[in-house]
Amino acid sequence: MHSICFQATGVPGSNYIFDSCSPALAISKPINLRFCGLRKEAFGFSGLTHSSSGRVHFSSRGHSKKVSASAESNGSPPKSFDYDLIIIGAGVGGHGAALHAVEKGLKTAIIEGDVVGGTCVNRGCVPSKALLAVSGKMRELQSEHHMKALGLQVSAAGYDRQGVADHANNLASKIQSNLTNSMKALGVDILTGVGTIVGPQKVKYGKVGFPDNIVTAKNIIIATGSVPFVPKGIEVDGKTVITSDHALKLESVPDWIAIVGSGYIGLEFSDVYTALGSEVTFIEALDQLMPGFDPEIGKLAQRVLINPRKIDYHTGVFATKITPAKDGKPVIIELIDAKTKEPKDTLEVDAALIATGRAPFTNGLGLENVNVVTQRGFVPVDERLRVIDTNGNLVPHLYCIGDANGKMMLAHAASAQGISVVEQVTGQGHVLNHLSIPAACFTHPEISMVGLTEPQAREKAQKEGFEVGVAKTSFKANTKALAENEGEGLAKLIYRPDNGEILGVHIFGLHAADLIHEASNAIALGTRIQDIKFAVHAHPTLSEVLDELFKSAKVKAAASSHGPVSEPVAV
């Protein structure tokens, strides 16, 4: 499965599950390696312990009758349908699919067992961006050197924890109601309850303890998302040992917090906590921090985001046991060597944040009714997101998008997948190119990427026999960045000199997350460097970093400058 993950996404960090929009959705490579191994456990409890997230856990008591009753009609799909499309799960993926379905004229319903907006809006990308906005401002105000360089004088910056927490919460509520209203306005039926597939083109939903309703649809999309993954041995009490779900509420700012996992989630939270005055200790299972990033970017990021801050780290270790603070004792973390498995160290800290990635939330979906078995909790799909059953055959009219299929655990990837599915069911052949989906980490400064990392590109080049070119530009030469006194940063382009194809772009610097789209759009549209380098950028803007990047690439003269590089790659 590990290799499936990898191939499936083929993107930097592809074999780690992450969500650029959500710090909560990231998993770092090392942990993920273990994660793969532990997937069974994850699967085992993901549905049991997280009944509040995404979908309420389907309890068999009281419902079994209906299940079997409806199962009788398994073989014969209904002739007429209540809906054209039913989406199970109203996260960002389901929402994107629903909007597009309406645009395409489909009668659409969406089933949500918890809150509209899913992880991203309620427990992920959205509230974390509110916290990161605060941390960014705090950082600026606290940096005397930076302020002085701009000629500014500011008295001591302080913050009110509850105020910050409220900001995050208000933002989530606001976005949540926006999502709900946008769907209602378009005429999408929002059905409340747990959605369960009871047969082909047939879904049951209802709140626990209430009678179920059965609805039919021509096509069904599973978009049930994921929940934080907690490795075994770690006792989460929600106060001193927490997951991103708790951390986003910012109920406390500990003096010293250990963050298990240095992927997107961990990194973003380290940015928040250190800005608010905490000291941070990273626990990373691989030998280096930030394993999901292009190595060069990772190195620079460590130099800027880790070394000068109040952060230390232990790499190459697993946290085998984490005990919450109690009886006058601090949080105790037992570490073992990742390779030798020998006890290595014990840490005593005030709190621990488990940021080891996310586990799919697919338990209780009724997949057994259509003969589908999940793989480590993920719903198996083909490159067109069609669900595959135990015999390797496609299940007709059933699709799975987003974190639940594990292809690329990003909110916007889920949405793109949803749109792709709608395109397919409305008769347009569409395959999503996952290599064109950008990812971002909203630290200060930000990190963003699209396509392959340099090692991935070189591996591919060796296999397929082409040459790899690398071009780099620095933010230090950019007028706008210097005006902001934020010259720290690097943009890196990985390309094919023979035909000008963009293989990957990685940016570390001011507003990197907003800058990546020029590159991701180029990849999506198959634009070559020799063409895009003539595009004009306003001066002075940060986008000139990319302008300079494209111009500095050395594409061989023979490369033609017309037409897309290649057909989008199906993955």
């Binding site: 606290q142 004088q153 008295s155 001591a156 910056a157 302080g158 003096d255 010293w256 000291e279 941070v280 200790t281 130099r303 070394n307 000068p308 109040k310 952060i311 230390d312 004792k329 601090p330 014990t346 005593e348 005030d350 620095s474 230090k476 030469a477 010259g487």
Partner: protein, 485 residues
């Protein structure tokens, strides 16, 4: 003596700055002895034959300082010519810097992540092992001297002389109260600080939660003043009391200082504070006396309400009133320089005490009697902005002939100011409060009254002088419209 130290500090500062301003700035401008020309970038220069300094190279024509990205080599590593030693980040790029000599990297003077100007020594190269000790001593003196922000090396003689790992053995403070073989727990920042200041973390006794070592513990062990980042008080527009200093300490007989209370921290004076302290002690040589006077401010308050929208502040009003009164009583504007004569000042320059960032400054409104109220307010605004930006020119803070200090906005009803050396009088203004008064006919009414207290040098200004001056001042304030003329 309601708040003696407030007035202390207020006064002293004006003169303190004048003295300190004449001193050369004690910036860490260490002369970089005969350094190579900047035209040879990426070259490591020698100064001496055996022990060589590794300099911050100029990697580009515009580079003035560089940041050490990382040391490729560690202390004690043997280097051979042409090897990469350190990665330096310039304003343009990161570059590996190579050594041009064989030798041993004896000491790293500028650590990773730190910045040094072009030409500054960033490391020491010894030719043989025998010279390592000497090289280290040299390094220690360099790093000691160039550490900015570090206060004058009070209790840390360690680095300078001892060649070995420069950490004077920690005070044998009751070694960790035996709790079994408990391991040392230090926070991430504490570890970083320990490394930076070369503190042996094992020797530090933690005072944090669960006995962990905190950054403060390391700072204490390194003899540094706690770097309280979040202290910097808001910049003040009007006068404001300085941070409460320990008032009696200076005057008290230095013989029987009680031992510091355990857990107390000792924070050395800044240059500004030292100057304040010096002047306060100096002021004891002047025989001063005080005269108080209640002033009715209803007219002044009414005027203030009227002119406030035009940008006039209470400070400007009071300064103007004082200046007009001084014009009629030149003796109060005079000073006694030598104890034998009056020095009558030709200008009336009102110094106004302002608290700024834990210090104090007295911007001076020059010729306050001649400028009109609006110009005065405008001038005051400029001065405060300059003071905030630390851009006051010496004559803008040391040319005062009379000082005004106002604590009224804090509700202080009266206080007593100390006379700054070089001036004849200082006025301490309290809050204006509604007060019941009876007039000559026995009618009661409520008037706003403000208590004004002037401290003066009795060698030149006598009681009657001050009383007359205050009476004039009071009349001006009570007929406030005259201030706008």
């Amino acid at each position: 003596m309601a708040s003696p130290f407030l007035s202390n500090t207020i006064i002293s500062f004006s003169s303190s700055l004048s003295s300190s301003s004449s001193l050369p700035r004690l910036a860490p401008s260490i002369p970089f002895s005969a350094i190579r020309s900047k035209s040879t970038p990426r070259r490591i220069l020698t100064v001496r034959s055996k022990i060589r300094e590794i300099f911050m190279p100029a990697l580009s024509s515009t580079m003035t300082e560089g940041k050490i990205v990382s040391w490729v080599k560690s202390e004690g590593d043997v280097l051979s010519k042409g090897e990469s030693v350190v990665v330096v980040e310039s304003d343009k790029a990161d570059m590996d810097v190579e050594t041009f000599y064989d030798g041993i990297l004896a000491a790293i003077v500028v650590g990773e992540g730190e910045t040094a100007p072009v030409g500054a020594a960033i490391g020491i190269l010894a030719e043989t092992e025998d010279e390592i000790a000497e090289a280290k001593a040299k390094a220690a003196s360099k790093s000691g001297a160039s550490t900015p922000s570090a206060p004058p090396p009070a209790p840390t003689p360690a680095a300078a002389s001892t060649p070995a790992p420069p950490k004077s053995t920690p005070a044998p403070a009751a070694p960790t109260v035996a709790e079994g073989p408990r391991k040392t727990v230090a926070t991430p920042y504490a570890k970083k600080l320990a490394k930076q200041h070369k503190v042996d973390i094992e020797s530090v006794v933690g005072t944090g939660p669960y006995g962990r070592i905190t950054p403060e513990d390391i700072e204490a062990a390194a003899g540094l003043s706690p770097s309280k980042k979040n202290v910097g008080l808001a910049v003040v527009v009007e006068t404001k009391p300085a941070a409460p200093a320990k008032a009696p300490a200076a005057s008290a007989a230095p013989s029987s200082l009680p031992p510091p209370v355990p857990g107390s921290t000792v924070v050395p004076f800044t240059t500004m504070q030292s100057a304040v302290s010096k002047n306060m002690v100096e002021s004891l040589s002047v025989p001063t006396f005080r005269v108080g006077y209640p002033v009715t401010t209803d007219a002044l308050d009414a005027l203030y309400e009227k002119v406030k929208p035009k940008g006039v502040t209470m400070t400007a009003l009071l300064a103007k009133a004082a200046a007009m009164a001084l014009a009629q009583h030149p003796v109060v504007n005079s000073s006694c320089k030598d104890g034998k004569s009056f020095t009558y000042n030709s200008n009336i320059n009102i110094a106004v005490a302002v608290a700024i960032n834990g210090g104090l400054i007295t911007p001076v409104l020059q010729d306050a009697d001649k400028l009109d109220l609006y110009l005065l307010s405008q001038k005051w605004k400029e001065l405060v902005e300059k003071a905030r930006a630390k851009q006051l020119q010496p004559q803008e803070y040391n040319s005062g002939t009379f000082t005004l200090s106002n604590l009224g906005m804090f509700g202080v009803d009266r206080f007593d100011a100390i006379l700054p050396p070089g001036q004849g009088a200082i006025m301490a203004v309290g809050a204006s409060k509604p007060t019941v008064v009876a007039d000559a006919d026995g009618f009661f009414s409520v008037k706003n009254k403000m208590l004004v207290n002037v401290t003066a040098d009795h060698r030149i200004i006598y009681g009657a002088d001050l009383a007359a001056f205050l009476q004039t001042f009071s009349k001006i304030v009570e007929n406030a419209e005259s201030l706008t003329l």
